[in-house]
Assembly symmetry: D3
Homo-oligomer: 317 residues x 6
């Protein structure tokens, strides 16, 4: 639009700056606990006991920065390979409109749950919040708790009218607080025109001009359901132009390693196809001819070494 | 079908016997707490503090038997009048297939929540259950806790394949345990042919031959969302051929009283219309002519007295 | 439901009494003209100039009583034959929930149009209505103008919430005013439980507990669109368990005559099939064997004579 | 409707007569082969080599009469048990409107395939048909080949307008020719009012007043896809109020035997539940207490013996 | 596509030229009145009496050029703020495919209504048109009446096949006649490839290769319904990448003023967020800290002055 | 995404190289015949007897290279003109997601059919394949048979999960084997991120991370149905940003000639509109003024000559 917009250049600049973590917003240290559903740190620890990494102050598993960076190259298909094998068939959600389809989304799940407004329940929750010196419980209560590297994962049960987690102001705030982490809403956003300028990946079901309404905040960092997936706080969220994966922390390393192999495999397979000498079934899934198989194995070994070396020496983007 | 079925006569007999509460199944006294989401008795008490009635052993508000009986005459439209006025716009769900559209469903909400299966979370829950001497956590864990007067309200997030809370055996058990209370599933049932013989109201989204699968039990008597409604354990559930209302206990009395007025109002209005002397707007919503208004007020007063007298002397069905 | 309902016996009685036209409600003689869209008598006369019958006081073509009675035997398939041949491909609508699928609906279209509420327009319309000494413009304005033999055809643009033309009181009024004519709503009704007792055919898209709201009455007896059909005031409306036809008055006689032939044809065809001596293609659409063809022609002639004689002597139901 | 209909009594009579096979229509012995897709007897024999029964003259497996009779008691859930176990996950289709939900449908699949009309292809097919002395290729070509015990399974690729396999005449013919076998259409029927009187089970996606059109007959007794199921000519088709199963002939006996066990299991389980002494998980799926297990095993053995004896002595209905 | 297309450069040139109003097509001065629905100038004046601006020759309110220019910066969210407050909840429609999502659409509503073809009605209308010396009534009848600054708003009731208001020729004509005003169709367009080169905003539900057919033109500049919105001729139509607003003329000024405030508010809010010192709830909706509030008020005052000054001196784009 | 991708430059290079046919992959000469449905060369020849061109070795009509090149300029609307006139109303399919909307797709239909997996049938087919020395029957069996200029047309009956014809490796192979011919799937693809880099047009219903599964290959170069279209092997497939046409070979020349006329017509019409002197109905469909008509005829003649000359001298792109 011919609007007084942030320059495209600024958009790019923001993307870069935010990713490199130069801003410093103070973040809310203590969980509120006033909302209807409670999932205390201990309970989260119990149910995510397989987590191999440190934890954030709020108890969520903390997938390390370098793995998050490496995960920016993942695609849905690469993740599927490991998750399916391990029996995790439900960690994928799709059917989203995607704000920036050319930008990957990677970060730690910060979950937020809303339910349809019910005055008796909401009154109790608001009273509890007040008791604890908190302001009114609403979408900003959760948004104010976001941390760098978070992807906000919001259950607004697919609502369009009134199911809008935020518009350009709150998305801008989310962008600064999470360092462009990302947003996944089973619900809507408002002000698509304004949000298009925000340098943060966003996945949403719909768009509507109404602000959020007729719902109540019922959970922060509780387990939530997004489409057919169960999301735990701290899961590694990865979005590409296809959909969104929620990867349990204990599987992150294996997914990344396997992805390296898949990418080398695809590289070699295409090289062979480009030679124009083989039928697809002679080469793919794996080469039929023992010699070719050997050639492939050698290629795989060499390329993996290169990739890992480059990565360890930080030459990797 | 020309099958070896329970006699239709037996079906009627069951309906009668069960409603009058002659059976006595022992019921599980202690909540399990092993499932992912926990909503302890104290928390339920906090969030349902407006409840004017006693509570069941598991902490749920106990809408009294006589009000449940009286509520069998309610229709969706009558309930709407009070709930809308009080600001409860979201306590209604529809879009169900209804097993016995001619039979009302009334009872206390016993809520059950499932989420998509996720092996790491389920393993922890099963281990916790075992620790506490419980069998495997699954649909029967919840079904075994049902009590007379309960309506089982199940969140299976609208799933068809694998989203079947039960077939004819478990529904039969539910019928005996709840004394034909009822079943509301945002999901499916299996074995429609078999279930058609069960003398218990049931509302479900779909039917499928597969048994329940690829889901995990995550909550018993926790707050659940059914369509656009937030359901609290102990809500009065009322279903007619239109849909299902979840009435907060503190509003039950007022709903029932208002319904009496509405029914007398409709009775009088139709009488007037049947005389063929008036336009609809002269009589409905309320009579324009002051004399008619007076006539109506007198009629209302007399009829309400009759109704309440009959009710209090137990002549009421 | 086990409610204090009108007796089923009374329901049947009403159906009979109303069909035989014993009640006499005074009806509004003058069209209002205050609503947004106006379609005066002269304009209606112009655009329905092919009408071969008298007209009602409000200008609508008046398909005669005896043809309406005869039309109660029509099915959608029989009507299709003539309408398709004459180039009327769009006079059919389906996708309705049907209140009494076993009862046919036949009557003269009384059309009502609503549009989404828009305060500036509605204010002008209400002021105009007041000027003319009319009460507030709303659904009852139209309902009060209904006449015996009318089928109310309502464009509520497929709305569910707030798109409810009426509940059990207004439907009861409609039943008495139209002598059980009927109701077709591209929208909803409320109070399905209450309406199930009303002895009037009704076709609606959905059911909801909310009363009509967020819409404004914009036309009475104006041309309306119902699904893919253009309906003119005075069209003969015929509903069976399949859907609803809106027959232009000038085609009614031909449709009825053709239907007699179709029914005799079906009668003979089935007789032949029941003999078990022929393949379907030897008999249907028309007999291949010249002798059989002759036999059929004779049968058709005889049966049509019988049918028409019986009809003319009033032995016909 | 108040129409001059076949008496309900006659409907019942037909149902009985037709099931007992007293009529004798000559049937087309030779397959046509003119239609686009050809699936000759030898090919059918190859691809159904596991069939343990005789074959019909047209090459289809002939599931015997007594098993068809026995299969009238099957429900979708009972069939699922064996098919799932054997790796047949796709033999079920649902989403149909069901003409007589209280009547089971059982018979041998007679498949018919249509594709969207394409003049160049249809011309060739019609010319080939003429060459072979056949009349025009259309729906009646297939219908004329129906035999007692057949269920016509029609792929009209879900079409409504023009996707109507037939109306009351052809359905009546189908009823007489198949002895009330049945009809499954992934498409529509026309004349629902007329068809309601036909004593033959029918499953269809929709209803429309238009006759079949804009399609061409492309296959008779070729493999077809109905929803997510692959149907082979001669499969045992079983429909209940839930949906339709297409059972490969080689699995029929096992399905029937297992169903007996399931029914005894359900009988015993419900008896136990009715005693009111057990939790559901103590009894169902199988009794936990070894003594109860033993009791059950004895009960199962005795009841199966009774059932099979009754069946073999023909006392079975 | 690699087609012989208008140069992209030419596309841009057209956009510029057309917006600056250099072309001069003569336009039809007199409304036709032959179509089924009539809404004469006087009636339009009555129902849009709140219009504060001049009127066009055809009676439509004429929102002035400078406000139209200013409105090119509006987004759906900004419009919502005023409309919701004034009780206009229904002036928004979405669910469109958008031809040029990066170009705003702003103009005066020129409404066109079609209904399903019905030969008797169409014959009368065509005869009336002929009588008045008009050519055949069809889509071009309306298109020929378009004026600079118009957005054509077409009710084709969501039809795809045959519901195509035009292809690349008529859209090109519309572009020249309206000076790139715009097009909103509750229906379809044809020739998406060709239309992609047209420098005019367009919102449509679907695309189909068929030309318009099986419909009749029933109204020009009559009130129409687009989705859930009532559109009056002369409404200000504003489309962004989210959807389309139809703004009553009397609210245009207030919407534009409020939008200025909202944009300054967003500007300031984001500045503060970018500082990284505040939680979202400290700043947004309005600053909690009185000092910040004061700072904001001063900023707002200053920026509004700047904006309005720039606008009045014509420095505004 | 910030991934190690093929360079965009390489993508463009590939597109060019592949279109110019420099690679040479050996292709499978013999049809397999093991799959369930067989459509031998002779049968194809019979049913495509109107084909005016040579045939490929596999029996498919071979629309010549120069016509394929010329067809790259076709749009859906231009094709519609001839097909509709000739009575081919069903040769169009839409509702696809389009990989490269700015690139046209043109080629010869290579059809592939899958049906839901059914173990008994699949076992026979696999055994037959083995007998003939073929590897396992699956998607690669068909993909290995692709030839330059082919568009793969796949019936996966609209399946998403498991209905993925391939990911980036097989699409890359398809690109090299068909020289960027194209892909139409009534089903899904996987790995959208990876496939976005493939220089081959692709039309698919959905995207999913799962590999192909729970289906069996049932036909190669058999007639298939894609949406409402019947596709014959060898049809000319043309896709634009609107949808896909399947043109019978005998109509290709006429479609191309007519398209030239349509394009000249549009060119002239727009020129006239750009002059700003005419109403749309004066010029379009054809000029009303005899002088203008003459002018147009002369223009058409001249331009067609130019176009055809340029084409014959190969100056045409």
């Amino acid at each position: 639009m011919q609007k007084s917009r942030l320059q495209t250049g600024m958009l790019r600049w923001l993307w870069t700056v935010l990713s490199s973590g130069m801003l410093a917003i103070p973040f809310a240290a203590s969980p509120v606990g006033a909302q209807l559903l409670d999932f205390p740190k201990e309970r989260l620890a119990d149910y995510s006991e397989a987590n191999p990494f440190d934890r954030l102050a709020d108890g969520r598993p903390k997938v390390p920065e370098n793995l998050i960076r490496q995960a920016r190259e993942l695609s849905a298909e690469e993740i599927w390979a490991v998750l399916e094998e391990k029996g995790y068939q439900n960690q994928y959600a799709d059917g989203f409109r995607i704000l920036h389809p050319d930008q990957p989304m990677v970060g730690r799940a910060f979950t937020v749950q809303f339910m349809p407004m019910r005055p008796d329940v909401d009154q109790v929750a608001q009273a509890k919040a007040k008791e604890r010196g908190l302001g009114p419980l609403h979408n900003q209560t959760a948004i104010d708790m976001l941390q760098p590297g978070d992807v906000t994962v919001v259950d607004l049960f697919g609502t369009t009218v009134g199911g809008t987690i935020g518009g350009n102001n709150l998305c801008y705030y989310g962008m600064t607080a999470t360092r462009s982490g990302g947003l996944v809403v089973d619900g809507s956003i408002r002000d698509l025109d304004g949000i298009s300028e925000i340098a943060m990946p966003a996945y949403f079901k719909d768009v509507d001009p109404t602000p959020i309404g007729n719902v109540m905040l019922t959970g922060i960092n509780v387990p939530v359901r997004i489409g057919g997936a169960t999301v735990m706080p701290g899961d590694l969220v990865v979005g590409d132009r296809e959909g969104v994966y929620f990867i349990p922390p204990q599987l992150v390393k294996e997914v990344l390693d396997r992805a390296d192999e898949i990418r080398v495999h695809d590289e070699w397979t295409k090289k062979k196809f480009a030679e124009g000498k083989y039928k697809s079934s002679e080469i793919y899934g794996s080469p039929k001819d023992p010699k070719l198989k050997e050639e492939y194995q050698a290629y795989l070994k060499r390329r993996l070494e290169e990739i890992r070396k480059r990565r360890s020496t930080g030459q990797d983007k």
